[in-house]
């Protein structure tokens, strides 16, 4: 069934359908990007003589105020730009001496040479290089509350009060950028006035006049109505995205922050559910237009959950945002649901219904488990943890309080196991990859081999964490992100940008991939080589090197060794131990601002890609086969059914996973019953599971889409932390999704 044909609680009007069509058409052929040219001109010509901070601020402000202004007369919300790179991050040409990536590379080579061997020579991926910024939300609600004028005033006051030169430079930069936002807004007003001057139709004139009034009020001044709040949010969100156009930067808890502005009009009947949902659809279409074709960009809204005082935070907007997004055939802004025992029971039922009918876009986040993990070791108080959101897929952090290296790298954990077995030779390239203390044959027993494995994980990760500290410094220096920092707590108080120690939490995050594959391989090694003596280390290494060709009997015996997910105590214990040890390695590092590095466990698009970088493994997996998803048992471990697999996935120490622990449960469409799924999700939550997602569409439909993609332009599938149009995915990813284990099959 196509997404558009699913029964929804809100039916798209012809006006919205037109808007969708026009938005998609515009996004397909956007005007050329000008930011880089404008900013380069300003930085190297207009402001070359200014001190660095002011030069950075004025150059970006120049680009923003000169950005082409595009307004559409029929729209009620205004402002648009398409994509755009940030030369201060990874610029080329003249920017190489002034951008954070190039500086980071130079400094890493000089200051952290231990990291260099882990860089991928091609086809042998261990851990990613560099550091990705993004994946946070900022406090746009400050603008709703006090307006950009109010925010400027706060920074002016702080500037007047400070004697700290670094802080003063920072405050000046913020003020320059906030004023640029207002100038850019004024240009929209001017463009609307120009449209009005030539408009003849009274209805069109009326709408244009309303738009002019709206933009003359917000975002400069506090929002008074729901429409003003929507425009104020959208415009300031867009402006910050202009500054930091990175994936995963998200609206976060939008239902929570917008509700106070709707409450009065909703109560007195000036806006009803239909009208509000319509407006939300307009907002979502606008947010989507910027990145329409980039499904993996992942701007996420999380609705529901609890408030900082622990009370139920589900409000009418939580429901309406689900209705609106469910009705739209879009991937942005992804709407995810937080659920808590404090929420009304019918809300969980709605979330499960969304899982079934939401076009494979739902993701359920369990508040109690996630907040508990965030708060462990007194890392943060409840009121901050309760404000968590997803920075994109599921990078968990408190809204508006964390710096933006939240998802900074990915790590192919089973590759470490492979290299320890072979003594450092990559099974894909056949070449030496890393120096290792020995190969499997050199370990007297399994505990010694496992200890070497944990040591190597620590060596890889701590080298990476030192690199992140370097990149944090270069990012703070070369891309101060004034606008984003002005809406990040506690940058105003500390007088520092978010990456320079201004943010209340400076936690980094990274993604360890294929933990279940690594645990299953380790358990198979333990049983086959050391406990049951099914084979010697040399026989195993020979079989893995040959990708089991000529070693079929051994492979079958390895496949028969229990896997994580089947209820076997030994296999489950191995996964629990590996997860705990890995989390301890993450926790054992304190970063340059006293923050932590969070493990964020999900798989995004990397299941086939990481698999292609892995040779055959001791669990019987063949070279190149995809790895498993998040903390879900791999396909081999799903043989004892859904409840046993969920039981396994929730018995491991999830409370140690601070950055989000995702699971993927794809269901057979024909057997899926909403009541059954609700019972499963509720049990998952009761058992301490953190994040539940999965596909619920028919595999046969995916196969038909492979044959005739043109007939399925809006068939959306759950990839891993995000959803994408199936026909836009690469063939390996399409196959991986088609071949995933489906639960609930008869």
């Amino acid at each position: 069934m196509h997404l558009a044909e699913h029964p929804t609680r809100f039916a798209l009007t012809s006006e919205l359908r037109d808007m969708l069509e026009q938005s998609a058409r515009r996004a397909a052929s956007p005007p050329p990007q000008q930011r880089q040219d404008l900013q380069t001109h300003a930085f190297f010509e207009l402001y070359a003589e200014l001190p660095l901070r002011e030069r950075q601020a004025r150059s970006l402000a120049y680009a923003m105020v000169n950005e082409p202004v595009i307004v559409f007369p029929d729209d009620r919300l205004h402002g648009v730009f398409y994509g755009g790179g940030d030369p201060q991050l990874g610029g080329t040409g003249p920017w190489e001496a002034y951008c954070s990536v190039a500086d980071g590379r130079r400094r890493e080579a000089a200051e952290n040479p231990e990291m260099l061997p882990f860089h991928d020579p091609g086809g042998s991926f261990i851990i990613s290089t560099g550091a990705f910024p993004g994946h946070i939300a900022w406090n746009y609600h400050d603008v709703l509350e006090i307006g950009v004028d109010g925010l400027i005033e706060r920074h002016r006051q702080a500037l007047a009060d400070t004697r700290d030169m670094v802080a003063a430079e920072y405050y000046r930069g913020v003020i320059i950028l906030l004023e640029a936002v207002l100038t850019w807004n004024d240009r929209h007003v001017a463009a609307l006035r120009e449209l009005l001057s030539s408009a003849r139709d009274p209805q069109a004139r009326q709408r244009l006049t309303e738009s002019i009034d709206l933009l003359e009020r917000v975002p400069a001044q506090p929002a008074r109505t729901f429409l003003e709040a929507l425009q104020s949010f959208y415009f300031i969100w867009l402006a910050v995205m202009y500054e930091v156009p990175y994936g995963g930067n998200s609206p976060g808890r939008l239902d929570y922050f917008l509700w106070p502005y709707l409450q009065r009009e909703y109560a007195d009947g000036s806006l009803d559910r239909e009208q509000v949902t319509h407006l939300l659809c307009e907002l979502f279409i606008k947010i989507d237009e910027r990145v329409h074709a980039s499904d993996g960009h992942v701007n996420t809204i999380v609705v529901g959950g609890v408030a900082p005082d622990g009370s139920d935070a589900v409000n009418p907007l939580s429901w309406m945002m689900l209705d609106a997004f469910e009705a739209l055939p879009l991937t942005h802004p992804a709407v995810y649901t937080r659920v808590s025992s404090r929420n009304p029971p019918e809300y969980l039922a709605r979330c499960v219904d969304y899982l079934v009918n939401g076009g494979n876009r739902a993701q359920i986040l369990a508040d109690e488990a996630i907040i508990t993990a965030m708060m462990q070791d007194h890392a943060m108080p409840f009121e901050d943890a309760a404000m968590y959101m997803c920075g994109g897929c599921m990078e968990i952090a408190p809204h508006g309080l964390n710096s933006d290296l939240l998802f900074a790298f990915l790590y192919n954990v089973p590759k470490t196991v492979e290299l320890l077995v072979t003594g450092g030779t990559c099974l894909i390239t056949g070449k030496p990859r890393l120096e290792m203390p020995g190969s499997l044959r050199d370990y007297p027993d399994f505990p010694a081999f496992y200890a070497a494995c944990v040591d190597e994980i620590r060596r890889v990760l701590h080298a990476k964490f030192r690199t992140l500290d370097i990149y944090s410094e270069t990012m703070a220096h070369w891309r101060p992100a004034f606008l984003q920092s002005s809406m990040t707590g506690d940058c105003l108080l500390r007088g520092r940008s978010q990456q320079d120690g201004g943010a209340r939490y400076a936690d980094y995050g990274g993604t360890p991939l294929g933990l279940q594959n690594a645990a299953d391989a380790l358990y198979a090694i333990k049983r086959a080589v050391f406990d049951d003596h099914i084979c010697t280390a040399d026989q195993l290494m020979a079989a893995l090197t040959a990708n089991f060709v000529g070693h079929d009997a051994l492979r079958r015996r390895l496949l028969a060794i229990p896997k994580f997910g089947e209820g076997d105590p030994g296999a489950e214990a191995m996964m629990a131990q590996l997860l705990a040890d890995l989390c301890h390695v993450f926790d054992s590092y304190t970063n340059r601002h006293g923050g932590r590095v969070k493990p964020i466990i999900f798989t995004f698009v990397w299941a086939p890609e990481m698999g292609r970088n892995l040779g055959a493994s001791a669990d019987g997996r063949l070279a190149g086969e995809p790895i498993g998803h998040g903390l879900t048992p791999q396909r081999l471990g799903s043989r004892r059914g859904l409840t046993t697999a969920i039981d396994a996935s929730t018995q491991i120490p999830l409370h140690l996973v601070r950055g989000g622990a995702s699971t993927m449960w794809d269901m057979d469409a024909a057997s899926l019953r909403t009541d059954l799924l609700q019972a499963i999700v509720q049990a998952f939550i009761n058992r301490g599971g953190q994040i539940f997602q999965g596909n619920t569409s028919d595999v046969a439909e995916l196969e038909r889409a492979l044959l005739s993609p043109a007939d399925y332009p809006n068939l959306i599938v759950r990839v891993g932390g995000f959803s994408a149009r199936f026909i836009n995915l690469n063939p390996q990813l399409q196959q991986e999704i088609v071949q995933r284990h489906r639960h609930l099959t008869r």
Binding site: R557, L559, R640, G641, T644, A679, N686
Partner: protein, 305 residues
């Protein structure tokens, strides 16, 4: 500790009673239904199953067997069942699962411990434990003890039975069973004997007594095209359901062919002749419509295709 012979414990069972359940399959059945899809359930004692497709010719079984029951020539395995006492030594060393002992002695505690692992799912779905078979009444002491323990654990219980046992046996578990899944195959006694090996006299009598005792009963009818899916049987089943007003309803169990191949693995000769083709969705919808037309409360829903 009381023990019984179990041939499978199936987690996430969603078709054997309400909610998410764990179904405990006991070994031994007094009937030999021609369409039986679980022939491994019929014999009361453990049996050795050999799936040649999984054998890798590793020879482990040859070394394990003290009675020369396994022969290996040219990596091809041959099993001599005449000497086999189903000691299970060969299966323990068979890593691929080609050799498997069907049926194992388990204590009540062992079974209940496994069942309780899914308690979180019973609690959220209204599910519980189902005892099936084979025929649970053939191991009445074990069945009663399992139900007793389940009651102590406040688990919802179902028993699936063919009803072919003495009333004295059935009566013992009435107070411990929340729902009987009562299998009924054919209304005509002689036809019943042809298809299952026994008459339905005792089955019908027990059904009426169970109904009179106020037990919750869902009548389950394996429906095989051209065998018992007949006009006469439909009419008789409708009449029976009218005699039993407290029935929760009738559930048709459309025939499937998943049992094919199991006979050969159990050493009962060549693959069994297929008794019928599996019914099409249209055929099932037609049955449902015909029962509905006779005023029978069916729990099946028409297919949507």
């Amino acid at each position: 500790m009381l023990s019984g012979t179990v041939f499978d414990i199936q987690k996430f069972s969603i078709h054997d009673g309400p909610g998410i359940r764990t179904t405990v399959f006991l070994k031994g059945c007094p009937l030999e239904c021609q369409w039986c899809h679980n022939p491994e359930s019929q014999a009361r004692d453990p049996e050795l199953s050999f799936n040649a497709g999984l054998c890798i010719g590793c020879g482990s079984c040859v070394n394990q067997c003290s009675r020369d029951g396994h022969l290996l020539s040219d990596r091809e395995h041959r099993l001599d069942r005449t000497s086999c006492v189903v000691c299970g030594s060969c299966a323990k060393g068979c890593y691929t699962g080609a050799l498997e002992v069907i049926g194992r002695e388990m204590t009540v505690d062992q079974v209940i411990a496994d069942v309780l692992r899914d308690r979180p799912f019973y609690e959220t779905s209204g599910g519980g434990m189902t005892i099936s078979g084979g025929e649970p009444l053939m191991q009445i002491d074990f069945t009663e003890a399992l139900l007793q323990r389940a009651a102590e654990e406040k688990l919802h219980t179902c028993v699936e039975t063919c009803g072919h046992a003495s009333w004295q046996r059935l009566e013992r578990i009435v107070p411990l069973t929340n729902l009987f899944l009562y299998d009924f195959k054919e209304a005509d006694p002689e036809r019943h004997r042809q298809l299952t090996g026994v008459s339905n006299d005792q089955i019908l009598a027990n059904l009426h007594r169970l109904h009179a005792a106020g037990a919750a009963i869902l009548l389950r009818v394996p429906f095989v095209p051209g065998v018992n899916a007949t006009d006469d049987n439909i009419a008789a089943l409708a009449e029976l359901s009218h005699q039993l007003p407290l029935l929760q309803g009738i559930e048709l169990m459309p025939y499937h062919r998943l049992g094919e191949g199991k006979h050969e693995r159990l050493g009962r000769g060549a693959p069994r002749q297929m008794i019928a083709e599996a019914p099409t969705p249209a055929m099932i919808d037609d049955w449902i419509a015909r029962f509905a037309g006779l005023g029978v409360k069916l729990v099946n829903e028409p297919s949507t295709s």
